[in-house]
């Protein structure tokens, strides 16, 4: 194989991989069933993805009838999830997550045989983006 082809393949490989990864993740999320799980939160931030909330799943207050066999499956989930949030909204969300009265729920895409994908976060039953909009 010529040097030119090697150079082309070396440069194309990361783009092809990242595009495939994005496509597969998108497909998995789109085709999976949605479930909501209660969570409790605390903070900090990630070097390459920015601010996030650290959220611990609370299975005791989760509605297990959402699962097809009416049983919760904590083993298929991590115990703590990071939810990435915009820098500008981080202080407000941190404050809300730290309040005991705030009800936090995480929405997951729950594919049959793959790890669940964290899709969204609900605060007091509302999407967090809508809630912050209303507050403004």
């Amino acid at each position: 194989m010529s040097k030119k082809v090697w150079l082309f393949l070396s440069l194309a490989f990361p783009i092809i991989f990242l595009a495939a990864w994005t496509f597969i993740t998108e497909q998995n999320i789109q085709n999976a069933k949605e479930i909501i799980i209660r969570a409790e939160g605390y903070d900090p931030r990630n070097l390459i993805s920015g601010h996030y909330l650290n959220l611990r799943l609370n299975w005791q207050e989760t509605d297990c009838t959402q699962f097809s066999d009416n049983l919760c499956h904590p083993n298929r989930f991590e115990s703590i999830y990071q939810y990435y949030i915009p820098e500008t909204d981080a202080p407000k969300l941190n404050q809300l997550a730290g309040n005991n009265k705030t009800k936090i729920e995480l929405v997951f895409a729950y594919p049959e045989n793959k790890n669940p994908y964290l899709k969204d976060m609900l605060i007091n039953g509302k999407n967090w983006k809508e809630l912050l909009k209303e507050d403004k």
Partner: protein
């Protein structure tokens, strides 16, 4: 010594004529590498790349996820095309600068995808993914900058990922309980083997990559020597002894035997293919000193002295190597470090200025005696003859 000074010396010694000196000087000026441009380009693209990471991290909510991803892939593709073109046009400095930018943008893209799809981080796997995706870029790079950054990222993230696999977790556990700093000594030995293998098979094809490996190998050895010297007695002694006494004896013997064999084989390989003995000696010293830590009592003065002896052994080896290879700067550095370490050991062990002073005078006398013996028995000739063989 600068080339101008050397030319002056050679001209005054009638080795070359004034005209030849002028021609050499002109040739050197014309062929001088644009070092400042290369370094500034590398820094500029590195900063721009980091800037992109920071903007992505800010997670600008106004822009929808698919737009962010689209823009990201466009930038990636445009950069890849620019890298390809600069390589074809043989614009080496721009090629390297853009290659660094491309590598940083790949990390930014991983961060962006993880952020948009709320993908969870597992240890350092994002960095491992980055190092796998950028491996081809490291191979095509013709300068040391990218390999220099890539190597520690790959090593750290792969060790982190491997340590989550039960087999490797057990293996690391066994090595860790064998003797103090065993994992670090093992890691350096593995790196030394890879370095030798690479230098043997790809010396010219992957010259910058091998140079980067050499830098990190040297850095790791120096860091470990400093840590063993100053850390063993002050910070870690209690942890060492408790951990090691709980270890499995048979496994410890096996690990130590394997490491000694690996060291001997490394020495044999280096000797057979006429590689520098400096690395072999440094590895043997590190292994020997760290194994003997097992039988030393938990006594601060003894541990301090053992650390001192370790540093001195490494420094004397470096000085001997510099002497044999006629590397004046390295010899000066090693001598200065030896002097500093001698001064420090007296402060560590004795403490008072009177005893420190007496100790230093005795040390000075020992060095004078060494010079006398050196001159009297012409040991320098002996070393040179050995090296010639």
């Amino acid at each position: 010594m600068s080339i101008a000074k050397k030319l002056e010396l050679w001209t005054s010694a009638d080795l070359i004529s004034a005209e030849q000196a002028k021609k050499i000087s002109e040739y050197e000026k014309a062929n001088r590498k644009p070092m400042l441009t290369i370094h500034l380009l590398a820094l500029a693209f590195f900063c721009i790349g980091l800037g992109f990471i920071s903007i992505i991290s800010a997670n600008w909510q106004v822009i929808p996820g698919w737009v962010k991803l689209g823009a990201d892939f466009l930038i990636l593709m445009a950069t890849a095309v620019a890298v390809f073109k600069t390589k074809q046009q043989e614009k080496d400095n721009w090629f390297e600068g853009l290659l660094i930018f491309y590598a940083v943008m790949i990390l930014a893209s991983i961060g962006l995808i993880a952020q948009i799809y709320q993908l969870q981080p597992y240890g350092l796997r994002a960095y491992l993914l980055w190092s796998i995706l950028t491996l081809p870029l490291v191979v095509i790079s013709r300068k040391i900058v990218l390999p220099l950054v890539w190597l520690p990222v790959f090593t750290t993230s792969s060790i982190d990922t491997l340590s989550q696999i039960p087999f490797f977790q057990n293996l690391l556990d066994i090595i860790e309980h064998t003797f103090p700093f065993a994992i670090s000594v093992c890691g350096i030995l593995v790196l030394a083997y890879i370095y030798r293998f690479m230098s043997y098979y790809f010396r010219t094809r992957l010259a910058p990559q091998i140079k980067a490996m050499k830098f990190w190998l040297g850095f790791d050895i120096v860091s470990l020597v400093v840590l063993m010297d100053f850390g063993a007695s002050n910070m870690f002694s209690v942890i060492f002894y408790e951990d090691i006494l709980n270890g499995d004896n048979y496994m410890s013997v096996l690990v130590v035997s394997c490491l000694i064999l690996a060291n001997v084989f490394f020495g044999y390989f280096s000797y057979k293919y006429n590689y520098s003995r400096l690395l072999t000696c440094a590895l043997a010293i590190l292994l020997g000193f760290s194994i003997i830590y097992m039988v030393l009592p938990d006594n601060k003065i003894i541990l301090n002295l053992w650390g001192f002896l370790l540093t001195m052994s490494i420094l004397i080896t470096v000085a001997a190597y510099a002497l044999i290879k006629n590397k004046e700067k390295l010899l000066n550095t090693a001598t200065a470090c030896i002097a500093a370490r001698i001064f420090f050991v007296y402060l560590q062990v004795f403490g008072s200025l009177l005893t420190t002073g007496l100790g230093l005078i005795i040390s000075g006398c020992v060095f004078l005696a060494l010079i006398y013996i050196w001159k009297k028995w012409s040991l320098s000739k002996f070393i040179m003859v050995k090296e010639g063989k």
